[in-house]
Symmetry: C2
Subunit: 332 residues, 2 copies
């Protein structure tokens, strides 16, 4: 059922009703949602992100459905990067009164669809009016059993650096969108360019990779949200180690090379600094978790690395040397 | 340590550092925060709100510290209204680049102080730039043991309606602020007017009242956020009952009468429609939980009440008749 009303015309109650229809949950509708534990020694995991129209997304590039999908992906990546299973989403949305109600419903539909592979639901939220469209997403998750969460500080010398998911695709997709100016200006007969743009607008995680990594004994984990070097630097700094990437594991694939040719960009910049792929990145000295590949080795920090190393370059190396690109995504 | 930097001058990392210094938590700083259960049969409870500057708060009336306090109060009220104990806060903040970093730190300090009576902490968040200042708060809580959460649908005919906390003070305080135009224009020698303005800007819950109500066997609960009639109507509709308030339990006290005299307003309107006191409102047929008072009786719905009753007036009565005021707070 599509609607032509604006949010202001519909009012708060009908806006909430449209969201709940697009993303139904029996846990929603009281003062707060109650989440039942599903395993022994159950611990809850929580993370939040805030997305501003024009800064984190634009409807020139993305559909409202894709904005919802991406919001779930980036928050569930944080949950999975703890080795946890996502269980629930809360969405607080501040919207201009003239925004079509259908846009809000489509965002909620994207959230519902992206969360459903985990059997997770949109369990609560808030709706207010504002000048900017601002979407705040909180993701909740659960870990059970005796193993610890996968924190940033667990990497140890000699371990493998591992990754699950593409690296550089989101940045490539953004470059394609910027090159052609809009989604529909991308040549329809070029499936690679369209695939990369799709990935930028609505990246999808393979469900369960975080839990799998924890189950196999991974030692540390994060996700590729701010850029490969920046995100790995967080593990390296917190663990007091150096992450030495294997350049041969990070060569641009055929899709990235094609997009680079069409846009005149360097695909290595997408790989090393792109971010927003939400690829899971971790370390392990146990067996390789399924769905992951090796991209490097954890080494000891050399003595000359200190607080004053700009950009954390010395915490992350490529084939023992400085990365070809090292700045990352900054959201402020 | 005070700072004269703006958020844009400080950048993302220093802004996050200022927040973490103002509201420290050892659970903060990884991809997501992990919350350990503290009791048997532990269930987690979650709720979210989004606050827009100029709509939900203004620095003409409130200090940044008070904005932080109120954000916690309104979210912890939702957690307490489930009979749960608040455990953690997440704050995602979208801020203009020229906002003083000290303002963000003071908001975080208010959050930290308001959460501390529950031993709850600011365990995570997000910081981005935007045109409007928008603060999204997610509150997490916990219930343990066999008793169910206090939902909206548990009120039964013959039970008492109960309340913990002042009703109408927040609306009175807002009327005082509007009457004088700013906080500092309120006569300094009038402690009542200042107390009401303080309450509007930073209402505080008495910690533990939600858990106490659940422990004594209360049947339903919510909080006075949108207005007494509107919020009780939610219980009445979901429970299929009529809530008959006792007018004698809701007469304006000396403070409300004084503020009404000084502003030329009707204090009954503040009591019945004001909202934002975050007073806990519930029903019980068990013993009276400590810290609560009786404000009415649950009755059966009369036959003529139907879906078409505007404003739900027939779901909530005062001394068996229509309330003197019945519209409530609308945030869209």
């Amino acid at each position: 059922m599509r609607t032509s009303l604006t949010v202001a015309q519909a009012g708060e109650a009908a806006t909430i009703a449209a969201i709940r229809q697009a993303a139904p949950s029996s846990l929603n509708g009281d003062d707060a949602a109650v989440l039942e534990p599903t395993g022994t020694n159950s611990r809850h995991v929580c993370s939040t992100d805030i997305l501003v129209q024009g800064r984190h997304f634009t409807f020139d590039y993305s559909t409202p459905w894709e904005v919802g999908v991406k919001a779930v992906t980036q928050n569930f990546a944080d949950i999975q990067a703890m080795g946890a299973r996502p269980t629930a989403i809360l969405m607080a949305i501040a919207t201009p009164g003239d925004l079509p109600l259908q846009t809000v419903a489509d965002i909620a539909r994207g959230i519902d669809e992206a969360a459903s592979p985990w059997a997770a639901e949109l369990v609560g939220g808030d709706v207010v009016t504002s000048k900017d469209l601002v979407i705040s997403i909180t993701a909740l998750g659960e870990i059970s059993g005796p193993a610890a969460a996968l924190t940033l500080d667990g990497a140890g010398v000699g371990q493998r650096i591992i990754a699950s998911g593409p690296i550089g695709y989101s940045a490539a997709g953004l470059a394609v969108l910027r090159h052609y100016g809009s989604r529909k200006a991308i040549p329809a007969n070029d499936p690679i360019l369209n695939e990369l743009a799709d990935w930028h607008c609505a990246p999808r995680l393979e469900p369960g990779r975080g839990s799998v990594a924890r189950a196999t004994g991974a030692s540390a984990m994060t996700d590729n949200s701010d850029g490969l070097i920046v995100d790995l630097c967080a593990i390296a700094e917190r663990s007091g180690v150096c992450l030495d990437l294997d350049g041969a594991a990070l060569v641009p694939d055929e899709k990235l090379r094609h997009a680079a040719q069409m846009t005149g960009k360097n695909p290595l910049e997408w790989i090393y600094t792109g971010g927003e792929d939400h690829t899971l990145l971790g370390t392990t000295d146990a067996r390789m978790p399924s769905g992951y590949r090796r991209i490097g080795t954890v080494r000891s920090l050399s003595d000359e690395v200190g607080e004053d190393s700009p950009g954390g370059v010395d915490y992350v190396l490529v084939d023992g040397g400085r990365p070809p690109f090292s700045s990352g995504w900054q959201s402020v």
